[in-house]
Symmetry: C2
Amino acid sequence: MNIGDVAARTGLPPKTIRYYEEIGLLKPPRGANGYRAFREGDMQRLVFLGRARALGFSIEDCRVLLDLRADGTRASAGVKDVSQGHLRRVEQKIADLSGMHETLSSLVRACAGGTRPDCPILDTLGTGAAQGRA
Amino acid sequence: MNIGDVAARTGLPPKTIRYYEEIGLLKPPRGANGYRAFREGDMQRLVFLGRARALGFSIEDCRVLLDLRADGTRASAGVKDVSQGHLRRVEQKIADLSGMHETLSSLVRACAGGTRPDCPILDTLGTGAAQGRA
DNA sequence: CGTAGGGCTTCCAGTTACGGGAAGGTCAAG
DNA sequence: CTTGACCTTCCCGTAACTGGAAGCCCTACG
């Protein structure tokens, strides 16, 4: 299978697939013409990568997960560790963004938005750091 | 004031301050020795930048906000536009991350985590895409 | 007065995970 | 045999810095 077919089937752009090969996530053999000749197993790895990336796993996490999958034995513990670590980072990010969201939405609500020269948003960013929580 | 003092007072690392100058966000004059000589106004811009960045505004957003602030007249409308745009992007990000969080936490819950060779996380990532929502 | 230290300067490279685009080989169809 | 779609590699650009090297400057101490 050529890269175009694999791209169509996995939903991953050819550029991304080449990149994954470049960083060693898969090693499709080459045909006589120099084209990558993807096997079924390469496709499976790419599907795996696409799903893991969609869940926000980093490339390095994906590398570890692929190794654990290939390992076969004692996979669960490692996989769960990696996933929990990622889950915690996601939770932290959500918390950070929620904090920003709260402040931002209160600022936007407080701003009249017309042609008035005084803007509570600029005031808050520029001078005293006080800001209401609603 | 030298860059070290400014860094201490604004909480921004010297590297970051130099970077902000490099991309044109401020232009502190130089002393005879080549050192940056920060004025009060430079400090104020940096404080502004620090707060805006902490709220997640992009550098380009910050540039616009600083311009609007310097402009003086008709600031509110533009500032509100920029802030609302940013707020929407933050909301989108939270939504994306919440989706990941839901799937991830259900997967982690489903994984026994011991030395068992079968792992529902690997199974979900590797084969059929079905996954319970709780 | 010499030197040791800390602070300042610039420049270069690396980070994450690709995307855009150029230059050029290959393949199937008409 | 040419055309057009596909493939290849290579290099640059992204956001917002951070780390580190090489080298100048300034203050203080003995």
